[in-house]
Every structure is written in structure tokens, then in C-alpha cells.
Amino acid sequence: MGINELDRRKFLRTSVLGSASALLASASFARSRDADGNKKTDDKPMIRRKLGKTGIELPIVSFGVMRADSPALVQTAIKDGIVLFDTAHGYQGGKNEEMLGEVFKAYPRDSFVVATKVPPEIKKDAAGAFDGSFTTKTFLENLDISLKRLNMDYVDILYVHGLSARDAVLWPVLLDVVTKAKKMGKARHVGVSTHKNEPEVIQAVIDSGVYEVVLTSVNFKQDHYPAVKEAIAKAAKAGIGIVAMKTMAGGFHDKERNLPINCKAALKFVLQDENITTAIPGNTNFDQLAMNASINRDLTMTAQEEADLLVGKSEGGLYCQGCEHCVPNCPKGLPIPEIMRAYMYAYGYRESRQAQELLASLNIPNNPCAGCPSCSAKCAKNFAIPERIQDVMRLTAVPEEFIS
């Protein structure tokens, strides 16, 4: 890496940090609320969207409730006009739901929307098949526990938590159990949450004819964002309500977590898609809450915000298109596209094992760039080829049992 490249990175880092700080400062609690903690009047109307065919209408920014030790955050969010609060059976061993139940005692039941997620417990029977009756029983028991914690007779949205394959979404046991929960009056609407293989899961939700809402991860950094967006459009057309999560893409552009993402810009980016009803960013402090809630009245992306999101792209992204532009210039004839693919497996898909297997199959030395004082191979997408090779090749030295 030359001096110019270092300077450019340093500049980008500084400018992003600067704009992130400015955003936080502008969202300062002291300036956005009066002495009673009420949000100062904002003339712009709240942007609301319909949640599929459920009949529920929501502000575009909701609240992914993350922790139980600050009920004041939830109370402030209610004052800010946020309606949907998203929790889960498993968050904080149930304390998250308990806290929400305690807070909501003070509000009319029809003044807020609560979504919770119950995971399907899986056990195999003696013959090695999935024990459907066990899953049904535990799912309904866990839903009852959640309702008790929430002090409610029903939740507005009940998600099956964390599905990542078509077969799981369409498993008759799950379709029956959510239908049963709805018939029992314990859930007004049912859905699925997913953060892996989203297009496949969303298509299955459409095909199910049972689920009404999908909670999906979607963000500007996803390599497969176009496919997710397309699936979302199809689902919206089919009347499925779409709720977005993981919009901040982990909060950093880089895997070293040095280059913070402009979270407000990332959230706005996702919500530009009108097929998405609302997003559930996790708010852990008042500044963050004020910043996110402000988007409910102003979704316009500034030029600076657009530029901030491009920072990650200028760093090259992860997807190697396999053009082989780099190959002829490598004096060692390294299979660079394959190594870049391994890098993508490791850092994009988080499939370290797959990355390690691919590297092993290439039959190259552990330090393939040794002896080259500088790199003559150039990438059409400006990937930092030698750094990435050096980085991902470390996987070859890790014993297999330590690879996830």
C-alpha cells in the first residue's frame, strides 16, 4: 500500500467519524426535548406505511428493544410517536419482555403494537425424525410464557424466530402452530424472522399462504441486496408486511471495526424502499433514539449521507466478479479470483470453513506473495489484492477444529 492510499484511507476515516459525531451532536437530547422530556414540536408530519394486509399502519421507524435496564428509553420512544416495539422470547432470558410488559401497563392496549419472536425448539424422535409434537407443545408453552411476561392476552405480531430455509418456513408443524396461536387469540398476525438466505425465506413466506409479515435483515452492504430487494417487492405485492432489521449492517464498513457506518444514512437508505413498512433499529441511548426517530418525519438523504454510504463501496466491497483482469500481471500466476472468493466466504458470508476448504484446494504456499516487493496485479474493482491474500491465507494455519 502506497503513501497516497494510506492518506486516502485516513481522510475517509476522519471524514466519516466527523460526520457521525456531527449527527450525534445534532440529535442531542438537550436540544431536542423540553424540560419534561417531551420532544419539541416538529412541523413535518409523521411518515406512515401500511403493514401488508394486516390493517396495521406504522411510522417508518420502530424500536428493536434490546435491553431491560432502561425502561425510560421505551417511554421516551412512545412520546416520540414510535408505535411498534419488537422483542423476543429469548432476549435477556425473558427480562426484555418483562420490562416491556411493565412499561405498557400505563398505556391503552390499542395505543402500541408489540411483536415478539418465539423460536421453534427442535428435537428428534427415536427414529431420527423431527418430533413435531414436541415443537408444537414447546412453541405454544413458550408463547404463553411470553404473554405472561408481557402482561398481555395477545401480541400483535408473532414471529417464528430465525428461519433461514424454505423447508423450515413451509414445515407443516410450524404453519399449524402459528395458525393455532392465531385462532386461540394469542396473536393477531403471524410471521417469520430471517437474517440468512432472505430471498429464499421471503419467497417461502409468500408461498405459505399463512404468514402475514416478514422481519428480514436488509442493508446497503449486503452483496445480495438486489435479490433481497426484489424478494421484498414480490412479497409486498402479495400483501405481506415487511419489517426491516440489521439496517446498520453491523455498524462498521470494515471487518476491523475502525470505519463506522453513518447509521442514520444506512437506515434512511433501507427505508427509501417503499415496500418496506418499517425498520426496527436497536436503540440503546437517548441520542440514538432521537436520531432514529427523527427519520419518521424526514426521510430525505443528504448529499453527505449518500457520500458516507459510498465509503464502503470505495473500499471495494467483497464480491469478486471473476473478470481475471488481475491474473496476467501476477508473476507467480496465483489464482487471485479464487483467493478473493475465499476472502468473500470468510468475511462476507462468514463461512470460514468453506474459505479454508477452497484455499486448501488451490494448492498454493501459505505465504504466496513472499518475495514480491510490491504487487503488480491490479484489480478492476480496486481490491487491495496483497493485503487480502495475506489476510485470508492466515486461515490455512488455523486447525480445522477451531474453524466455525
Partner: protein, 291 residues
């Protein structure tokens, strides 16, 4: 953001330092007579914890989560116990995460630093490990099995089994059991209040005491300035040079006192007498043991 970078560096060091130790050690999970172990699950880290605990992962990351190791123990009675070992960067972080999920009404038992046994579940901490043992089976033998595996893990991991040291400054009188918490970030919902130790008390009414470790005296001063800036001026009463009573619009009545690198405070205390008595005890203990 600075906190996350520090967290990232610490995690890197923990992983790096543990690699040689792991080579000399068979596994994080000890063998037990009569039990077979399988370790087919992947090891999860901060980049893919989502894959196994979904949205709950966010909070673990706030507590400098390093990695998650999973094993399954099987015995002759077809009992299966799932052992999840969450490794954090420090014992404070492990305790903090554990306390976020702990309820004061649980059945606490003496194991590791602290732990509880519920039906089919044994959760506890030992040093920087937060360990969760669970089984679908029920019956008398279940608890015995969980305890046997839990105790063996404590022995095997050879960690220090004491509460985070700063809890020593909290007065014992009227303290409610098992209410200690370590809040790594965003204490009370304020982005500048980090590394807070708290415990709940009950006199004529319930109140909380907290101590924030700002690491440096200058930092403690700047945190206090930030907080006072975030509160309407009319809500702040100066009681002493470094002692303020505040009517926080979100939290309620609060007292704050700066002492060296620490900020001590109380929330919703019943009266001024209790406030002064307890705060004095905390400050005295800090000056004796932590200055």
C-alpha cells in the same frame, strides 16, 4: 465507537493469547466419567453470533463477547445436556452479560462466581466465561447431572471466582440480594455513561446505588459535564462542590458525586439522610481501597 475499538483490540488479544493454551489443552470442555462429549457445532464469534442467538447477539457484543463454544454431553440414560460457553474479554463483561439475563427471583446456588439452577437449566459465570447448561429432560437426575457438569467445568477452566472488585464499595446494609449489575455501555440510556456498577437497595422505598469507573479523573469530570449539559438547568441543584441533586426527566431523582476517577450516585432514594449516609459509605470505601 472508541469503546468498540478498545473492545475489538481486547478480544483480539484474548483470542491470540488463548491459542497456545488451547493447543496444550484438550478442549474447553472436560471429560466426565459416564458421559460422552460431542462438539459438532461451530465456534461462533462476534461476526456470526447472530446465526445462533439472533437479535440477542447485540447485547453480547456490548459486553466484549469473544466467542461461543458448544458441546453436548450424553450419558447412558439417554440424557443430553447442551453446554454453551460464552467467552468474554474480561470477568466484568461476563458478569455484566450474565446479570442482564439473571432474575433476582431465581434459585441461586453456590457455583463459580454466581449461578442459578432452574428446571433443566444451570446458568453461571466463572471468571470471563458465562456458561449455560440446558437439557430437555426433566426429573430428579437432571439437576444432579447439570450440577456435576457445571462443577467440573469450573474446576477445568481454572478461573478466579470472585465478584468484580468494585462491588466491594457497595454498602451491605439493606442491599437486595443478587441485584448487582455491571452495565458496560449506555447506563440509564445515556451514551456517555459507561462502565457502571449498580445494586438495588430497600429502605422505606427501593433505591439504587451506582459507581461509574471513568478510568481517569479528567474523564470523570468530563462525563459529569456531559450529563449536566443534557439535563435542563432548573433540574439541577448543587449540594456541594462536587455533589449534585438532579431531577432527571427520564430516571427520577438522582444524586451524583465525583470522586477521583469515579462518579458515584443514587437513584430514587427515600430521603436526604439515606442519600448522605450511603454516599458517604461508598466514597469512604473508594478512598480506602481504590484510590
Amino acid at each position: 465507537m472508541r469503546y468498540q475499538s478498545i473492545c475489538g483490540s481486547v478480544i483480539f488479544l484474548v483470542v491470540l493469547l488463548s491459542v497456545p493454551a488451547l493447543y496444550g489443552q484438550e478442549s474447553f470442555f472436560p471429560q466426565l466419567p459416564g458421559w460422552k462429549i460431542t462438539q459438532d457445532d461451530p465456534v461462533y464469534n462476534a461476526n456470526n453470533l447472530w446465526d445462533v442467538i439472533d437479535g440477542a447477539a447485540d447485547l453480547y457484543l456490548e459486553y466484549c463477547f469473544v466467542d461461543l463454544h458448544i458441546a453436548r454431553y450424553f450419558n447412558m440414560d439417554s440424557m443430553e445436556v447442551k453446554a454453551e460457553l460464552y467467552r468474554h474479554a474480561s470477568s466484568e463483561d461476563a458478569f455484566g452479560m450474565y446479570a442482564q439475563e439473571r432474575d433476582t427471583g431465581y434459585n441461586f446456588i453456590p457455583i463459580g462466581v454466581q449461578g442459578y439452577l432452574q428446571q433443566g437449566v444451570l446458568n453461571f459465570i466463572t471468571g470471563s466465561y458465562y456458561i449455560k447448561l440446558s437439557t430437555f429432560q426433566t426429573g430428579v437426575k437432571t439437576n444432579d447431572a447439570l450440577l456435576a457438569i457445571g462443577k467440573k467445568l469450573v474446576e477445568h477452566l481454572k478461573q478466579k471466582n470472585t465478584m468484580p472488585r468494585l462491588f466491594q464499595v457497595f454498602p451491605k446494609e439493606r442491599k437486595l440480594p443478587h441485584t448487582e449489575q455491571y452495565v458496560a455501555r449506555n447506563f440509564l440510556g445515556y451514551s456517555f455513561l459507561n462502565a457502571a456498577y449498580t445494586a438495588a437497595y430497600k429502605d422505606s422505598s427501593a433505591f439504587k446505588i451506582f459507581v461509574i469507573d471513568a478510568a481517569e479523573q479528567e474523564k470523570a469530570k468530563s462525563i459529569l459535564v456531559d450529563y449536566l449539559k443534557a439535563i435542563p438547568k432548573e433540574a439541577v441543584t448543587r449540594l456541594d462542590t462536587e455533589k449534585y441533586q438532579i431531577q432527571d426527566p427520564h430516571i427520577g431523582v438522582m444524586v451524583l458525586q465525583e470522586f477521583d476517577r469515579y462518579i458515584c450516585g443514587m437513584i430514587n432514594y427515600p430521603n436526604g439522610k439515606i442519600r448522605d449516609e450511603y454516599l458517604k459509605k461508598v466514597i469512604t470505601s473508594l478512598s480506602r481501597n481504590f484510590k
